[in-house]
Amino acid sequence: MRYITGKTKLALLILTLILLAGILAPVIAPCDPLASDLGRTLEGPSREHLLGTDNIGRDLLSRTLYGGRQSVLVALAATSLSMALGFVLGLVAGYFGGGADFVITALSNIFQGLPGLTLMIAAAGILGQGVTSMVIAIAINSWAGFSRIVRGEVMKLKQESFVDGLKTVGACHGRILFLHIAPNIFGTLAVVFATRVAGNIMAVSSMSFLGLGLQPPAPDWGVMISDARQYFRQAPLLILAPGLCIVLLSLSINMAADGLRDWLDTRRDSLEIT
């Protein structure tokens, strides 16, 4: 029996709301997120500006609504890229073993050993500023996790006799790897993907906060927090609103990922009676 728990439903609801807000931002945002009004800076909540304004008089609500768009997209792109890389390398390492496995495992150990943020800062520094380089930097940082998990799963599946069975009916390595082993890993991979997306949204925000990712005046949560540091005492909402969004988004993705894992894990519910 498959079912979805209440906790997962709540997570999915929050997640949908945040994503919808991002997608529909151009329609529902009351103001232009970039339009500044130097006459009305650092205002508190009012009827025109429901969450108030920032240091150069931009509408905080509109900026917060827009703020998730780019970081989510960048995080999705980076996670997809790192998953593709880790998936292929993990499959090769786990299935063929030997020298290929040795090299790939050594590489992934090195990358996992390096501190993530430093690695990303270094990569972004070498590649220069911009969205593309940020995607690449994050992918470099997170492929190793995927490759390790894929490798482990492949090595486990390789022991099952259906793989031997396929060899004895004449199936080639490509067929076994991509038509049979890979689909059995997709479930696990989906969960890891979801968890990594959450982590990578944080990474995008951190990089933007440090000035290495998205650049001001772009409406992005990381950039917004970075800009608002000095005005925290006068207008705490400037940091609280985007900060809360980051936390809620990551949390709901993580919780949804947990739910997804339970849902995919069909065998956990079947009772074995002997």
Partner: protein, 269 residues
């Protein structure tokens, strides 16, 4: 006729301190068409390695395998593919013999796809006939491996092996994970298939009583060698080698068994 001559295999363990383990030492036998050879031995005696060598999952260090005088061992990809059609294998664990992410129907059809046998429609017809042959319901085609029982899975595996029209089936402990009544069904199925299709079997097992029931010839294996071979009846009634005697004795457990053959035949319902 399958002729196996002087097959050996040594595994190397460890990277720095290399240890060699001789799994199979100089094994030879021949198997006439339509007959069954039983290989019995304890766990770890190398009997599964023999099966894996026969089906090319492991390549031997030396020796030859010939089917009707044709060499099956050394050769390119073409020979390998031809061989997979003549020699098929059934594994010990029926539950893990099928890809859990694919339907039974997909797994059954796949070997025919790989070998480009028939067109789409022809394959579907053949699937239906194969299921009939192993006495399975057509509904099974759409189910997933975790939804079917061990006995059913083993029948599916037999049907899949048969789809390639093999001459020889290698059966690696096909019933050791099944209940006795299911084991009886599967063994009887194998027997009737042998009669109708003229298949030869290499039946690997640690259960000497099943081997005695199914096999024409028997080979007793210990530490990678055949220590005794011969007609099943002769080997079981007057074992020559010490290990065969030990094996037979262990099966019996105690001397005064009452199910061991003495269960009166007229009681059968």
């Amino acid at each position: 006729m399958l002729e196996v001559e002087g097959i050996s295999k040594t595994f190397v363990k460890g990277i720095i301190r290399r240890e060699t383990v001789a799994a199979v030492k100089d094994i030879s036998f021949c198997l006439p068409d339509g007959k069954t050879l039983g290989i019995v031995g304890n766990s770890g005696c190398g009997k599964s390695t023999v099966a894996r060598i026969l089906t090319s999952l492991v390549s031997p260090d030396s020796g030859s395998i010939r089917l009707d005088g044709e060499d099956l061992l050394w050769g390119g990809r073409k020979i390998f593919r031809a061989r997979t059609r003549k020699l098929q294998m059934i594994f010990q664990h029926p539950e893990s013999s099928l890809d859990p992410a694919k339907t039974v129907g997909y797994s059954l059809e796949e070997p025919m796809k790989i070998h480009r046998m028939f067109d789409e429609k022809g394959r579907k017809e053949r699937l239906a006939r194969l299921l009939e042959l192993v006495d399975l319901n057509q509904r099974l085609l759409d189910s997933f491996p975790h939804q079917i029982s061990g006995g059913e899975a083993q029948r599916v595996m037999i049907a899949r092996a048969l789809s390639l029209e093999p001459r020889i089936l290698i059966l690696d402990e096909p019933t050791s994970m099944l209940d006795v009544s299911v084991q009886a069904q599967v063994v009887n199925l194998l027997k009737s298939l042998q009669k109708s299709l003229g298949l030869s079997y290499v039946f690997i097992s640690h259960d000497i009583s099943v081997v005695g029931w199914l096999c024409h010839k028997i080979a007793v294996m210990q530490d990678g060698c055949f220590v005794e071979t011969g007609e099943t009846r002769k080997v079981l009634s007057s074992p020559r080698h010490k290990f065969t005697r030990e094996l037979l004795e262990s099966c019996r457990l105690s001397q005064d068994g009452c199910t061991g053959g003495s269960y009166p035949a007229n009681q059968r319902g």
